[in-house]
């Protein structure tokens, strides 16, 4: 059996109070957080279905001449892949998971807050790098398309 020994008692500091209040707000905002995540997925699915139907429609028409260039095709593939990775990265930032915490445990709250920040910043870094690469590839495709258009 573990013996409990009080090693420090102090009055709550403003920083500790702010952390506690932030978790209280998050607990109350949980329904809104879940709805916002569902709306994000809904918007993405709608948008991606639009893209899919757009691609299927393009397939039936004769493609522009620049689409025959292998560099344009590969840059296009790279753009799609990079933007999809960026999309997954942003989902990693916004999609919630259920976390159970003791409201009286300040150390758990502080640790959870640190992990939250660390995870969000990691996913956002992935998203920003992928988005940057996708943007570069897209720019290259557009420039080639403009230069080769007759």
């Amino acid at each position: 059996m573990a013996e409990a020994q009080v090693v420090d008692i102090h009055e709550e500091t403003p920083r500790e109070r702010a952390l506690h209040e932030w978790f209280e707000k998050q607990a109350l905002a949980s329904p809104d957080t879940l709805e916002a995540a569902a709306r994000t997925i809904l918007g993405l699915v709608t948008g991606l279905l639009g893209v899919l139907f757009g691609v299927l429609a393009v397939k039936e028409d004769p493609l522009p001449s620049y689409f025959r260039l292998p560099v344009v095709r590969w840059l296009g593939v790279g753009t799609v892949a990079a933007l999809l990775v960026a999309l997954v990265g942003t989902l990693g930032v916004v999609l919630p998971r259920r976390i159970q915490i003791a409201s009286a445990r300040l150390d758990q709250q502080a640790e959870a807050f640190q992990k939250l920040m660390s995870r969000k910043s990691r996913w956002l870094s992935v998203a920003v790098i992928a988005f940057g690469l996708g943007l570069l590839a897209l720019g290259a495709v557009l420039i080639i398309a403009l230069l080769t258009a007759v």
Partner: protein, 71 residues
């Protein structure tokens, strides 16, 4: 008396009382954020937010748990 009852003295008014730490350890708050589930650990040292029943001051209490050796 429960083994989890710990004597606490208010940092402001000095009032002393016994608090059940097992009750404070119960996960009673659900939040939805994107951190890995179940990664919040229970170390040997825990920090609790305990309001004083006398003056209402929120005390931050750090408790160290040490294994009792038999014999």
């Amino acid at each position: 008396m429960s083994n989890h009852l710990t004597e606490i003295a208010c940092s402001r008014c000095g009032h002393t009382w016994y608090e059940d730490l097992a009750r404070l350890d119960k996960a009673d708050q659900d939040i939805y954020k994107n951190i890995y589930k179940g990664k919040v650990h229970n170390g040997r040292e825990k920090t609790y937010r305990v309001p004083c029943p006398e003056c209402g001051t929120n005390n931050v209490v750090t408790v160290r748990f040490e294994e009792q050796k038999d014999g």
